[in-house]
């Protein structure tokens, strides 16, 4: 299975050992994010609601497009895809 690169925003890097991107397996956005958060309940809760939907204040982009516009979590990932996780930054 092809791996997907997930770019991690600074506020979430604590969940991945400080890394700015992580390669995970997965055929869909949901599978890739499940692999990313596997074994880390608090990370999973940060991204997903109890119903398993993406939280409204978390955005995920496939290439430059919001996956919500590409079929949501079930969107298929092409080989070598890059996902970008994004959360609001407040600092000024």
């Amino acid at each position: 299975m092809s791996e997907t690169t997930i770019r991690i925003p600074t506020p979430l890097r604590g969940f991945v050992g400080g890394r700015d991107q992580v390669a995970v397996p997965g055929a869909t956005v949901r599978e890739a994010l499940a692999a990313l958060t596997a074994g880390q309940e608090s990370f999973h809760d940060r991204l997903f609601t109890a119903e398993g939907e993406l939280r409204r204040f978390v955005n995920v982009y496939l290439g430059r497009d919001d996956v919500r516009r590409l079929g949501g979590l079930d969107a298929t990932l092409p080989a070598g895809a890059t996902l970008t996780l994004m959360v609001a930054l407040a600092g000024g």
Partner: protein, 385 residues
């Protein structure tokens, strides 16, 4: 006959001349009237609506103003002589229909045709803004536009510092600073608007001092206050562009919603450690440009918000993002290029990379979708563990 007179006779035989009244009629019909006299001459008056382009720069800049070489161009000088020489040069450049206004501005005035007195830069302004004036994209008209502009800047901190400095230096005529903090020593690692000598001062006053030192010809309005739902429309109203350099999410949502109510573009930037985001939101008809809530419809709950205690930032990072915000502001004020709208620019300082994601206007946006009126509210402070 002198050489000059012989040459003029030749030109008169080839270059069509029109009287002032006919020139006005042609101008009303879409022809471009160009006053080719020097700035000192046009200072006291020039035909209304004429392009003022001194003879020495005519060939260099005419294409920016008249890209269609088929458009009729009418050239006017003081008495109708220099315009003949100029007309020949434009015809040679490739303009198909170039005419000289017989009798020039003297005849125009004598005929009682409409005259306007163009706003003038004084000698000191001309020297200060020389690098703008020599760019056709800004030029004298653009500099006047900047000088007439009003920009509100929220936050006189990390982002606010480079934004305010560059907008003041560019000659934005009225800069409104809004911030309710005092200058602390720990600010000085990145907040280059302030200084050790002004520790303890209100940031808006310290900022005002620095900005007027850089450019004493502009107006700096200082509001030592925190933006709230109750004062935001009054504080931001009357500005051409709002720049959001605030440091907290409640203010960002409030600024977004207020800008939508006011119909003013909001230049947004945010930073954290080595990372930055920048975009232009709103300021256009519904559906044309997204707003901040199209990107993030709602703030995260406190437990998921960035920790304020750990909100470190590389000192230069606000410089990177703030200068882009200043550039976007000036582009909006001058109507230049493509605004950074419909997309969010992401800066990764550690990798030295800029990336971009698409941010289309959300047809279901709670603040900016068609028919919706943005609600102004004070969100409780969002600041996680």
């Amino acid at each position: 006959m002198s050489l000059k007179d012989r040459r003029l006779a030749e030109l008169r035989a080839r270059i069509p001349e029109v009287g002032p009244a006919d020139a006005l009629a042609l101008q009303s019909g879409g022809a471009l009237l160009v006053d080719v006299r020097e700035d000192e001459e046009t200072a006291s008056g020039s035909p209304a609506g004429a392009l003022r382009l001194p003879r020495g720069f005519l060939e260099l800049r005419i294409e920016d103003k008249a890209p269609d070489a088929a458009r009729t161009v009418l050239l006017l000088c003081a008495g109708g002589t220099r315009s003949l020489f100029a007309a020949e040069d434009l015809a040679r450049l490739g303009y198909a229909d170039v005419r000289s206004v017989a009798g020039g501005f003297s005849a125009w005035k004598a005929a009682g045709l409409p005259v306007e007195v163009p706003p003038q830069l004084d000698a000191a302004q001309r020297e200060r803004y020389r690098r703008h004036l020599t760019m056709p994209e800004v030029g004298e008209a653009g500099q006047h536009r900047l000088l007439r502009s009003r920009v509100a800047l929220i936050g006189a901190g990390g982002l606010g510092s480079p934004i305010a400095l560059y907008l003041a230096a560019a000659g934005v005529g009225r800069l409104t600073l809004i911030d309710d903090d005092r200058v602390e020593r720990s600010n000085l690692q990145r907040q280059i608007l302030h200084a050790e000598s002004r520790l303890g001062q209100r940031k808006v006053e310290s900022g005002r001092t620095a900005l007027l030192d850089l450019n004493p010809t502009i107006e700096v309005v200082a509001h030592d206050t925190r933006l709230e739902a109750g004062n935001v429309l009054e504080l931001l109203g009357g500005h051409d562009v709002v720049v959001d350099g605030s440091d907290n999410l409640p203010t960002r949502y409030l600024v977004n919603d207020a800008c939508l109510r006011l119909g003013v573009p909001n230049v947004y930037g945010a930073i954290f450690r080595f990372e930055g985001q920048v975009a232009v939101f709103g300021g256009a008809a519904p559906g044309l440009r997204p707003c901040y809530r199209c990107l993030f419809p709602e703030p995260p709950p406190a437990e998921y918000a960035p920790s304020c205690a750990e909100a470190g930032v590389l000192g230069v990072l606000p410089g990177v993002i703030g200068t882009i915000m200043a550039a976007e502001t000036i582009k909006l004020l001058l109507g230049l290029g493509e605004p950074l709208a419909g997309r969010l620019m992401l800066y990764d300082g550690l990798r030295g990379e800029f990336n971009e994601i698409a941010v289309p206007a959300d047809p279901d946006c709670p603040s900016c979708s068609n028919g919706v009126t943005a609600v102004l509210s004070d969100i409780a402070a969002v600041c996680g563990g």
